[in-house]
């Protein structure tokens, strides 16, 4: 007969060939994907990349059609020879699973090796070191479970692939075994709960008295940060006092407010606890400081707080990460509108003397002139309101 190509290649060989084809094509596309980013292509080259992908697609469809036809030929051959195609596909898929297992483990390893190294630098806060440690322990435990269960899953799929001659082992339950794999995960999880709980209660405990207190207000799409000034006490605020001049609605009748500072960058003295009082003016934001492993939602109408102790100055971190441009950031992590993706403020951690110098350069934002502006703004708001009311009565 003419259909001998199919017979010459064993089904398993074919399976491996197909798989290699798939892997190579995905690797190529990854290489293609990373290259332009590395070399920063000019936009006129876009046409080329586009056509490249179209060609790739056509090639893929073509390859798919060829493989599909080959398999159809194989099916017909087997049917003619009186063999059951079911067995062949059991073999092919069984082998695929074992090949997949190997490639999958290699892929996971590779990702940990490359992408895993792109993660955050070591924690710049005291509690962050503890949670990082906890993360690593959890990663090791879950990693072991991940690898063992996947090896079993795919190995069983390969080993026990269907054969006409075999009969499955009738094994409906084993109470002892089931008890073991209920209790062991329960114990492991209990340990994790306890260590997580301990870390959590420490993190969420009230801030120490000596902590520097800052007021952070989120608005679309910026952060407004207020320092307490020399008295380390923040003036109170109310949203009804907000206007263009007084963006967070600070109540200047409060004597604590008189020496408060507004800043464009957050300066923090190293090794001194800092307590953030969070609030939002319009919608929910989330103040996320990944380098300090700190995050707290900022909710309108509901003050929240988070405190931590920075342990590494920006300078030290620049040395550690070997990146002279490194900066700590506070960014928004809760969707808050169209420009959510760009809502950031820089954090600079410095030593005590640098901090004192920086603080000395800042002037309280409450001035006589501002008081006047605020009064004017308030008056115009009141007037607008009256006009609105007047209009209403005319209606």
């Amino acid at each position: 007969m003419n259909i001998s190509i199919a017979q010459q290649l064993k089904s398993s060989t074919k399976a491996i060939l197909l798989f290699v084809l798939l892997t190579i094509s995905s690797t190529i596309s990854f290489a293609q994907a990373t290259m332009p980013a590395a070399t920063d292509v000019a936009s006129q080259e876009l046409g080329i990349t586009f056509w490249f992908y179209v060609l790739l697609l056509i090639a893929a469809v073509f390859a798919f059609a060829v493989v599909n036809k080959t398999l159809k030929v194989l099916e017909l051959t087997q049917e003619l020879n009186g063999k059951k195609i079911k067995n062949t596909y059991n073999n092919v898929n069984g082998i695929f699973f074992i090949v997949f297992l190997l490639l999958f483990l290699a892929y996971v390893y590779d990702q940990f090796n490359t992408l895993g190294r792109m993660g955050l630098p070591e924690s710049a806060s005291e509690h962050g070191a503890i949670t990082d440690n906890l993360f690593n322990i959890t990663a090791i435990i879950t990693g072991i479970v991940f690898i063992i269960t996947h090896i079993l899953l795919f190995y069983f799929s390969f080993k026990y692939k269907g054969k006409e001659t075999r009969k499955a082992f009738f094994y409906s339950h084993n109470d002892k075994l089931e008890l073991y794999w209920t209790i062991i995960p329960a114990i492991v999880l209990a340990v994790m709960v306890l260590s997580g709980w301990k870390a959590w209660t420490n993190i969420t405990a009230p801030a120490p008295k000596e902590a520097l207190t800052l007021d952070v207000t989120g608005k679309q799409f910026a952060w407004i940060v207020r320092y307490p000034g020399n008295d380390n006490a923040l003036g109170s605020k109310a949203f009804k006092l907000v206007n263009d001049v007084n963006e967070t609605g600070v109540d200047f009748n409060d004597k604590n407010a008189k020496d408060d500072l507004l800043v464009n960058e957050i300066y923090l003295p190293v090794n001194r606890p800092v307590k953030f009082n969070f609030n939002a003016r319009d919608v929910i934001h989330s103040a996320y400081m990944p380098h300090f492993r700190a995050q707290m939602n900022c909710v309108p109408g509901m003050p929240t707080t988070f405190w931590f102790k920075p342990t590494i100055t920006t300078e030290q971190m620049r040395l550690k990460t070997n990146d002279p441009k490194f900066d700590y950031l506070l960014l928004c992590a809760k969707v808050c509108g169209s420009a959510h993706y760009n809502m950031q403020i820089k954090i600079v951690v410095v030593n005590d003397t640098e901090y004192a110098t920086w603080l000395a350069t800042k002037k309280p934002f409450y001035t006589e002139e501002m008081a006047k502006q605020i009064q004017e703004a308030a008056a115009s708001v009141a007037k607008a309101k009256e006009e609105k009311l007047a209009l209403n009565t005319h209606e």
Binding site: G162, A168, D282, Y341
Partner: protein, 604 residues
């Protein structure tokens, strides 16, 4: 319901409308759910490809986008507001319309009556209404994509005040109103479906079908329906209150807000209240999504491994455990909302406990495969894929459930990776497995196996290529729902990875066309299905291939044994359907010969 129904059948003349449109037959309703679900899935998939293009090539312009999206992609670059809309609608469609209604609606409708031996649902009319409410809400949700101000855009969780104040972003205007109306109708549909499923399972099982002889699919559907009935009304309440806040000046969720140059009069509300209401549904919701998939995979793995499901009783207990615990874990979505830290500790405890029944299920799947005689049908491949994804995604849940670790992972790509693997992909794999397995029951035709294999392997590889790298992005502190990562220096290094993910996502979605082709072609040109193509034990394969009202001509089959008598020693075939009396098989099949759990006490 007995011979009377079949007698009636002969005289009943069906019009096109009563057969295909306003049908009250559960099998037709299942098909309607499935096809609507597939259409919604394609819409959700196209949206995801569009925003993946933006994430992979943030600085480049694609003229075809402008042709497609018009003013939302001027100059070929997607508008940030519309990016948010696409993310929102993608999430909403996939979570509610595809994986809740599409998955649960299809298979609960098809399998509950057929597998428990009932002629139809308890109330066929309410069943029909349930589908048409779902259809209406799908239409409204899809419609909202087309309105001028754009669809809802605050994320599928629609947290107020962002969603409550039209000034906050373009999508919070009419788009949000349509979203809320659509979801209110959706909830009504889900409730009508759920009540029907529960009453059917509890009341209409055939003779001999005790609760402990039900297939695990039915257990999963029953518990899913209970979850839905208990939790969807809470979302409904939340949605209604939000409608009041938006339209009638109430302050349930609003307080102390200054926006668009003016201070709003609202006072005393709490945005966090909405989150409690939302996640009281939202967390059971993810189990509403995954439990039917787990039930389906249990059934398919047992059938195709030609072995009883290992630990049938443990599987039921773990399902019940998951269902119960899912109601007291919602707070883990809110660790960093500023709620009382002690409450956080409690939710951390309950969340990590829920990993125990999940682990039991996984180990039982592995034990079922062990020493099996595995038949790799496309359905079986997807079921095995589901187990793999369930493990991978489930394990990352242990990180997120730990409050102290969640501080740094919350709302990052780690979360995106976690739930797309464990809830999105795993449940989608369950749905694919179900479609491949029960296609012969749905359409009386066989799907093409070969195309199924291609579909599975390409999809499986694509899923891991798309979602696995996202874990590492999350560990680098990259937040989710970002329009682009070019505003932050430390995120720029992820551009190459994002491009890889986008390419994998595009290739993976192209692979779905293999499925679509296979699905729609087989309806017309597929091989005719045999009576019991997978040599399965459950009752649905005893019903005639050609659909009929009342499912079985003549008497409903009686049930004598549990559904997992596969490869029973002493029997010449490797399966014994549930309706085969004990006395008709070999002596080794007498009660009590394989343990104490499932031995039937009644004999024929």
């Amino acid at each position: 319901m007995s011979d009377h129904t079949t007698h009636h059948e002969e005289h009943h003349k069906e019009t096109f409308i009563s057969k295909y449109v306003f049908s009250m037959d559960h099998k037709m309703i299942a098909k309607q759910y499935l096809i609507t679900g597939i259409i919604m899935a394609v819409i959700g998939m196209v949206l995801s490809i569009l925003f993946r293009i933006q994430l992979g090539w943030p600085d480049e312009s694609f003229p075809f986008l402008e042709k497609l999206l018009g003013k939302w992609a001027q100059g070929g670059r997607i508008d940030p507001a519309f990016y948010m809309s696409m993310v929102t609608i993608h999430g909403t469609i996939m979570v509610f319309f595809v994986l809740t209604a599409g998955l649960s609606g299809t298979f609960s409708n098809l399998l509950i009556p057929l597998q428990i031996g009932a002629r139809d649902m308890a109330s066929p009319f309410i069943n029909m209404l349930s589908y048409w409410f779902f259809f209406l809400s799908s239409v409204i949700m899809t419609w909202s994509l087309l309105i001028e101000s754009g669809p809802a855009s605050g994320g599928w969780t629609i947290y107020p005040p962002l969603s409550a104040i039209p000034k906050a972003m373009p999508g919070s205007g009419l788009g949000m109103t349509l979203w809320l109306i659509s979801m209110a109708i959706f909830v009504a549909s889900a409730l009508m479906g759920g009540i029907n499923y529960i009453s059917t399972v509890l009341n209409m099982r055939t003779k001999g079908m005790s609760m402990t002889k039900m297939p695990l699919t039915i257990w999963a559907f029953l518990l899913t329906a209970i979850l839905g009935v208990l939790s969807f009304p809470v979302l409904f309440a939340g949605v209604i209150l939000l409608i009041f806040d938006r339209g009638f000046g109430t302050s349930f969720y609003l307080s102390d807000i200054f926006i668009g140059g003016e201070a709003l009069p609202n006072h005393g509300g709490s945005p966090v209240l909405f989150q409690h209401l939302f996640w009281f549904l939202g967390h059971p919701e993810v189990y509403i999504i995954i439990m039917p998939a787990l039930g389906i995979s249990s059934e398919i793995i047992a059938t195709n491994a030609r072995k009883p499901i290992f630990g049938y009783r443990a599987m039921i207990i773990s399902l019940i455990g998951i269902a119960f615990l899912s109601f007291i874990v919602w707070g883990h979505h809110m660790f960093i909302t500023g709620m009382n830290p002690f409450l956080g500790s409690v939710f951390m405890f309950t969340t990590l406990i829920i990993a125990v029944p999940s682990a039991v299920k996984t180990f039982n799947y592995l034990a079922t495969l062990w020493r099996g005689n595995i038949q790799f049908t496309p359905a079986m491949l997807f079921a095995i894929g589901l187990v793999s994804l369930f493990i991978t995604g489930g394990l990352t849940g242990i990180f997120l459930g730990n409050a102290s670790l969640d501080i740094n992972l919350h709302d990052t790509y780690f979360v995106v990776a976690h739930f797309h693997i464990v809830m999105g992909s795993a449940a989608m794999f369950g749905m694919f497995a179900g479609v491949y397995h029960w296609y012969p029951r749905l359409f009386g035709k066989m799907m093409d196996d070969r195309l199924g294999y291609f579909h599975f392997w390409l999809t499986f590889i694509a899923v891991y290529c798309v979602f696995f790298p996202m874990h590492f992005m999350g560990l680098d502190g990259v937040p989710r729902r970002y329009y682009s990562f070019t505003s932050f220096d430390f995120m720029k290094e992820w551009l190459a990875v994002n491009r890889f993910i986008s390419i994998a996502a595009i290739l993976g979605s192209l692979a779905q066309f293999i499925f679509l082709y296979n699905f729609f072609r087989s309806i017309f040109k597929g091989k005719k299905a045999p009576q019991n193509p997978w040599n399965s034990n459950t009752l649905e394969w005893t019903a005639p291939v050609k659909h009929m009202h009342g499912n079985w001509p003549g008497e409903i089959p009686w049930v004598y044994r549990w559904p997992y008598d596969y490869s029973k020693p002493g029997h010449d075939e490797d399966f014994i359907p549930q309706n085969v009396p004990l006395s008709q098989t070999m002596s080794s099949n007498l009660p009590g010969d394989y343990g104490t759990h499932h031995g039937s006490k009644e004999s024929h």
